[in-house]
């Protein structure tokens, strides 16, 4: 799979096919996101946006087709791929009894970096030492996103990141996305809201198993 073409750089997927029961969620779907580009997935509820994101991460295996990163299938380079990937799903992925600081330190250690400063714009300063079970939904979302935003992943895959965020939080997320894309990163986001960064983000709608 190493045909020399501009499409080999970045994140790409070809002829993805996935069924859930009788329903065809991905029907020969193809996409390509080059470094410095972002993709916003739109589409009504239940069309398979989350499933597509999980396939892109490598959590769900498609029945046919492959996800490629820099020209190689991600399942053939799991180590490199997982080092490059930052994933924030609709489940927060925080341990309820640990504080925000402990959760973030664990996430940092897991990806092999030291946990640096937590910026004030994240809006978590007052709850850093509270267990995450007592946080509001918005604060939990911020903590969950912080894992990706403060990391050094090249590829951000975010499922409904704007949910529960206030205006300031959405603005901060947009600013982070801008910086990330400007630095040559890749972002794939599923979102309903209209708040998203203007820089290099293309919007596509997932309908009937293909992107339109």
């Amino acid at each position: 799979m190493s045909e020399p073409s501009p499409h080999t750089i970045g994140l790409s997927a070809s002829s993805l096919l996935l069924f859930r029961g009788e329903r065809c969620l991905l029907n020969g779907l193809a996409l390509h996101v080059a470094p410095g580009q972002g993709l916003v997935l739109r589409g009504p509820n239940g069309t398979g946006k989350t499933t597509l994101l999980r396939v892109l991460c490598g959590l769900t295996l498609p029945e046919e087709g492959d996800v490629h990163w820099n020209g190689m299938a991600i399942r053939e380079q799991r180590n490199e791929w997982q080092r490059a990937l930052g994933w924030s799903g609709h489940k927060a992925g925080l341990k309820s009894e640990l504080t925000v600081r402990e959760n973030l330190a664990f996430a940092a250690a897991l990806s092999g970096r030291s946990s640096g400063e937590i910026p004030a714009e994240l809006g978590l300063a007052e709850c850093l030492d509270l267990p995450t079970r007592v946080l509001s939904a918005g604060q939990q979302r911020r903590s969950s996103l912080a894992r990706v935003l403060l990391g050094n992943s090249l590829i951000w895959v975010l499922d409904e990141p704007y949910t529960n965020l206030d205006t300031q939080g959405q603005g901060y997320l947009n600013a982070c996305l801008d910086t990330h894309l400007a630095a040559g990163g890749i972002a794939v986001i599923a979102s309903h809201g209209n708040a998203h960064s203007a820089l290099g983000m293309t919007e596509k709608t997932l309908l009937n198993g293909v992107l339109q």
């Binding site: 991460c57 490598g58 959590l59 769900t60 295996l61 180590n79 997982q82 080092r83 990937l85 994933w87 799903g89 609709h90 489940k91 927060a92 992925g93 925080l94 341990k95 309820s96 009894e97 640990l98 402990e102 664990f106 996430a107 250690a109 897991l110 990806s111 092999g112 267990p131 969950s144 894992r147």
Partner: protein
């Protein structure tokens, strides 16, 4: 290689020290089940001495089963299992840390309670010592086998029942050698054979089961 194991171990310990009430019920279950038998069977010392090893081993197995269901379920439900599977660390070592933490939290307290419970069965001192040793050598295998079944059933709604059906047949060899070793000690015979076999089963499980657990978790998240 030790870092991922240590990372998970530390996180699990912290999480469960703050939710210590979760640790209590399997222990209470162990004490209750094993003190019901002397009441139900017969208070005769020689009968109790005969059934004691088997009953204590079954009680320990069932109380481990009770806690097994939770091994990956919380992580699955709060989404941190996805993060572990996608982390740039060997998943095999991460799950090894997870199982090790479970063993330290669930089984060590159980071992501490065992001598007290063994009094109810009038086990001689030497037999109690062998019982403890057999639990120490055999329970790691149970934790690891339980880890595989817990990983397979984590996505199921009826997970607990399926877990019991899968795990109990797998644990038969451990149960046989464990209670047999204690039986032999009660009769004053040499116990080296079954104890060494228990240790061998645990070593084999420790080297193979983490791969099975990691693969099963990937399937469960699919």
């Amino acid at each position: 290689m030790i870092t991922p194991v240590w990372l998970l171990l530390k996180r699990e310990m912290r999480q469960s020290v703050r939710r210590w009430s979760d640790l209590i019920s399997p222990l209470v279950f162990f004490v209750l089940v094993s003190s019901l038998f002397p009441l139900a069977i017969s208070p005769a010392a020689d009968v109790l001495r005969q059934v004691g090893p088997g009953v204590l081993w079954v009680a320990a197995l069932l109380s481990m089963l009770l806690s097994m269901n939770r091994l990956f379920r919380d992580d699955f439900e709060d989404g941190s299992l996805e993060q572990l599977v996608l982390a740039p660390q060997p998943l095999v070592l991460l799950v090894l840390g997870k199982v090790l933490a479970h063993w330290l939290q669930m089984v060590l307290p159980l071992l501490l309670l065992t001598p007290a419970v063994a009094i109810a069965y009038d086990l001689p001192g030497e037999a109690t010592r062998v019982l403890l040793l057999s639990l120490l050598l055999g329970t790691p295998a149970l934790s690891l086998l339980g880890g595989i079944t817990a990983a397979l059933t984590v996505g199921l709604r009826q997970g607990a029942g399926v877990l019991a059906i899968l795990l109990l047949p797998l644990s038969i060899p451990v149960l046989i050698f464990g209670s047999r070793a204690t039986d032999l000690a009660v009769e004053g015979m040499d116990t080296t054979g079954p104890l060494m076999l228990l240790g061998a089963i645990s070593l084999l499980s420790a080297s193979l089961a983490p791969f099975g657990i990691a693969a099963a978790l990937r399937v469960s998240l699919d």
